[in-house]
Amino acid sequence: MKPAPFDYHVPESVDDAVGLLASLGDTAKLLAGGQSLVPMLALRLAVFEHLVDLRRVEELRGIERRNGSLWVGAGTRQAVIEASDEVRAAAPLLAQATPLIGHFQIRNRGTVGGSLAHADSAAEYPAVALTLDAELEAQSPRGRRTIPATEFFTGVWSTALDEDELLLGVLLPVWEGRCGFAIEELARRHGDFALAGATVAVELDCDDRVARCAIGLLGLDSVPRRGSAAETAAVGRAIHELDPQEIGRAAVAELDNVPADLHAPADYRRRVGAEMVSRAWTRAVEEAGRG
């Protein structure tokens, strides 16, 4: 259980980190909190000649309002997000999702950027980013760009980031008005990756109709997914007309790549997913109704 040898680099700035990635090529990997990467190195599922540690890059850390969004620096630790009043106020879904990540010892090291870039489809942050239509800022030697979350997650542990590109931060749109948010997931043991889970964001108008909503699905495909058909069906309808069970079934109906493994067959995961959507929908609507 020892990682293969590698050379270690500790840049002080984003420019230096990107420069290192460009010169070292695909033999290098970025190291953020290391809570996913180091186990993969220890198990030798991954081997790199160079690790570029981001711990000294201060510009990657921080939580602040920017126009209508909350910006969270990629290097911000999950424990910092968990304790942040700003996050609770501006991105309640991110706040609710954070305690479900691993254990507190993991969240003391793990970062938001690391979780998004690792892109495990059963992880919480990718689903939250997708649900909130987040934008991901990245820098490469070719400059900076912003990638919509809908285009960011491309496959198992794969993202739209180029090999010489560094994730700088994530911009989460702030939902104002009569809004509610919830995340529900089923894990065999607390802290394990969920068998399936769902995130819901909903905004009601003054007549208790669904003004807009977003449903995220985690652990139900090789990438986080949206329950688009269920969202479309719900918008404009009065909440008392909507059956949460029905929304749950509609949200998972289009899934065609549900994982199956020794923990759960695909059909079971799909049914758990529908139930998680239903529960999250119910909680989110209750919260929105109080607003």
Binding site: Y8, F104, R109, H190
Partner: protein, 160 residues
Amino acid sequence: MADVEVEIRVNGQPRRASVEPRRTLADFLREQCGLTGTHLGCEHGVCGACTVLVDGDAVRSCLVFAVQAEGAEVTTIEGIGAPDELSPVQAAFRDHHGLQCGFCTPGFVVSVTAFLRDHPNPTDDEIRDGLSGNLCRCTGYQGILAAVRAAAAGAQATTG
């Protein structure tokens, strides 16, 4: 694959060494510092036996490379208590049958020490949540739960 010079304060003592970058903080503590109270179970971040404090935060030392801890203040089980001077958490584990073989105990004690510092008056649900990152394969968790409850109550009584 060049070695890297690191200086880490361990239990208040500066420790300097030249390490391979792939050397974990856990191996640094055990082999370079001779502090074998930090135990290694799974070596991939699941069991929690290797938990130490880095700048006050409980972390898995098998998931931190020693080079990442350059300049940090590390506290191991040896810095928390001694055989003739148990910490309140250790004393509570002894009093409530919170350990049997003892292999997982250093990780539990370090985790619980940090947990109670941040949650001085925890509910049972919070205690279970706080313990979820440490695995015990022989004692059973009820004694550990009782120990954490007692340690919390003892600290409350002292600070009153």
